[in-house]
């Protein structure tokens, strides 16, 4: 899951939990508010009543009676005024049930005693508490809507903000990990960000890339230097032997010995120049500007290698379109690539086997060239190793020194070609180039 998705999910759920808690707590809150408000109005009303009594006397209410009582139509509120015993004192606000005209209702009642002209009176003002429950449900629903709307708005804001904050990270991933090809560019651009964590990550990645590059270039340089340095001594050996062989009075035994030595030196030379070739390809020392007709190229190779086909009585089927042109390649390298592959197809083939070379569209629609043989095949465990330098997977036969496919691989990489191998033991192998 992406980091931004995770963050959004987390924020959303935490917000939902908070809202839910709030909604559950809402009736209680409303009750609290209501009760405070009721207390407040009761007190206000008490003040009002007392000030009226002060101004107009008790008779304003009593009008001849010695008690007074009044309630509103729906019995939501009531006021009662009655004389009580001298010693009786009260100043409370409390919930209590009252019976008014056969209805028992819950009231919050303010009871207050006061003296007026030697007499003690009790003033009671009541307000029903029942109606507050009616509000709860709609209020809760209303609050839910508003809060949901608010959540949506805040999530949108969060999302944009998260995206802005995380943007450097995705840029680091894109430029440093996804889109960077090995060997990396030497001057890696730093991602502009004010987040120290990202800065640190970016810096560490750049450091790592530089280290890998250094190691890679050193190895490359070593291969190139070592091969170069080997060339001169090999030259010396080779020319000494040539001169020896040209001696007039050389007996047959010595000549044969010298020829054998020359073969060994030639082998050494081939290894060294193979390494040099790979190192030159890796150092971009070839120009890729030629257009090559594939059919002509392959015909040339099969022509050159024809005697080997005859030796093993192999059939070669060349089903390649005569119009196929490989564009912007280096002809020598492409020649080498196909030569090595066909050469292998012959070397590892059985007597009277066959080799098929064909081109066409692959399953994914890309152009590809397939070279199949009917040879000994490659064990699955070795498939990943065959392109490595000096890896010889089949030790039963004289297989050379193991650089042929390494060269193929580096030429393919140099031309951005993909190369795949499919193989079945004792049935043959197919190399796909696309």
């Amino acid at each position: 899951m992406k980091l931004s998705t995770k963050l959004t999910l987390f924020i959303t759920s935490s917000k939902l939990v908070v809202v839910l808690l709030f909604l559950l707590a809402l009736p209680f809150l409303i009750k609290q508010i209501e009760s405070r408000y009721t207390t407040y109005t009761l007190k206000q009303q008490k003040k009002k009543v007392l000030s009226i009594i002060q101004k107009n006397g008790l008779d304003y209410y009593f009008q001849g009676d010695d008690t007074y009582g009044s309630y509103t139509m729906l019995k939501e509120e009531f006021v009662a005024l009655l004389p009580v015993a001298d010693k009786f004192k009260m100043d409370t606000i409390a919930d209590s049930k009252r019976l008014i005209e056969n209805d028992t209702l819950d009231y919050k009642v303010l009871s207050y005693t006061f003296k007026q002209g030697n007499k003690n009176y009790l003033l009671e003002i009541g307000k029903t508490t029942e109606r507050s429950d009616q509000y709860n449900k709609p209020l809760q629903r209303f609050a839910l809507y508003i809060l949901l709307a608010l959540i949506v708005i805040t999530i949108l804001i969060d999302l944009t903000f998260i995206r802005i904050i995380i943007r450097p990270l995705s840029r680091i991933i894109k430029t440093k990990l996804l889109n960077s090809k090995f060997p990396f560019k030497s001057e890696q651009k730093r991602i502009i960000t004010s987040t120290t964590d990202f800065k640190y990550l970016d810096e560490s990645l750049i450091n790592l890339m530089n280290q890998i590059n250094d190691a890679f270039y050193k190895e490359r340089e070593f291969t190139s230097n070592a091969s170069h340095e080997l060339m001169t001594p090999i030259s010396v050996l080779q020319s000494k032997m040539e001169n020896l062989l040209a001696e007039e009075n050389l007996d047959e035994k010595s000549s044969i010995a010298i020829v054998e030595m020359m073969k060994t030196v030639s082998r050494l030379k081939n290894i060294t120049s193979s390494l040099l070739l790979i190192s030159r390809i890796e150092n971009d020392q070839y120009i890729k500007k030629e257009n090559v007709n594939l059919f002509m190229l392959l015909s040339e190779i099969t022509d050159e290698i024809g005697h080997r086909l005859e030796e093993k009585h192999l059939q070669i089927h060349l089903n390649v379109s005569q119009e196929s042109i490989l564009k912007n390649v280096n002809r020598d390298l492409i020649f080498q690539l196909f030569f090595n592959l066909i050469h292998n197809a012959i070397k590892f083939n059985r007597e009277r086997g066959s080799i098929t070379i064909e081109d066409g569209k692959s399953n994914s629609g890309a152009y590809e060239i397939r070279i199949s043989d009917t040879g000994i095949g490659i064990p699955p465990a070795d498939l990943s190793l065959i392109f490595d330098r000096f890896k010889k997977t089949n030790l039963n036969e004289d297989v050379g020194f193991g650089l042929g496919l390494a060269i193929v691989k580096s030429i393919a990489v140099y031309h951005n070609l993909k190369i795949e191998v499919y193989s079945e033991i004792n049935k043959g192998s197919t190399f796909k180039i696309s």
Partner: protein, 225 residues
């Protein structure tokens, strides 16, 4: 023919000299840019073979200087560096050929012969061998008036042997000439035998080919007539 060998690896320079002497070239050796320039001031040369990496400088400098004092000489660059840039600069500066190390002395000699042939034109268009005549530039073999078809590789092989008449050429030398600097994964020169067999078969249909000898265990030779 006078040759100046500029090569700091002394053993290699001596071997080159020894080999070329047998073909009647007269050689001077220089091991540094300085001694090469001295030699160039004192003598005239037909061939100047230059190694690029020298202890006191770059062989390309010698090439630049020598081109002015010896405009008629032929230049072959010999080097282990052999990257594309050096090759192009060398040829741009007027080198006639470029030979990457390590090379066979035989190959060096035939490059020199090829340059000579280009320069002076071949006096004898047709080389005679046994009852056959070989046209090197036009690449065909004649028996009386009859053209004998040889494949490209077969002709390459035959002409190389002819040009080094009297010398035994090993299979390795022959295959390297035919395949050039191509890097081949394994060493196997059976195909040289196969080609020779074919050449003999094609020519024997018309006349004897005892002049094309097999030297047991070593290689092949065209007998000096």
């Amino acid at each position: 023919m006078k040759v100046l060998i500029v090569e700091d690896e002394k053993t290699l320079a001596f071997e080159m000299e020894a080999f070329l002497k047998k073909s009647f070239y007269v050689c001077d050796i220089a091991h540094s840019v300085k001694s090469a320039n001295e030699n160039l001031e004192l003598n005239q040369y037909d061939f100047i073979l230059i190694d690029l990496s020298l202890p006191d400088g770059d062989g390309l400098e010698i090439l630049k200087n020598a081109k002015m004092s010896h405009p008629n000489a032929s230049y072959i660059i010999i080097t282990a560096r052999s990257n594309l840039k050096d090759r192009v600069t060398g040829l741009d500066l007027g080198a006639d050929d470029y030979l990457p190390k390590p090379f066979y002395l035989l190959e060096l000699q035939s490059r020199m012969q090829a340059i000579s042939r280009r320069k002076f034109g071949i006096t004898e268009e047709l080389l005679s061998i046994g009852q056959f005549k070989v046209d090197l530039p036009k690449r065909f073999v004649l028996f009386e008036e009859q053209v004998i078809e040889l494949s490209r590789k077969e002709f390459d092989l035959l002409s190389y042997l002819l040009l080094h008449k009297g010398r035994v050429l090993t299979r390795v030398q022959l295959s390297e000439h035919i395949w050039g600097t191509f890097v081949n994964d394994d060493f196997d020169s059976n195909y040289i035998d196969a080609h020779i067999k074919n050449i003999r078969k094609k020519l024997n249909a018309w006349a004897e080919t005892e002049w094309l000898e097999t030297v047991r265990g070593v290689g092949y030779r065209v007998k000096k007539s």
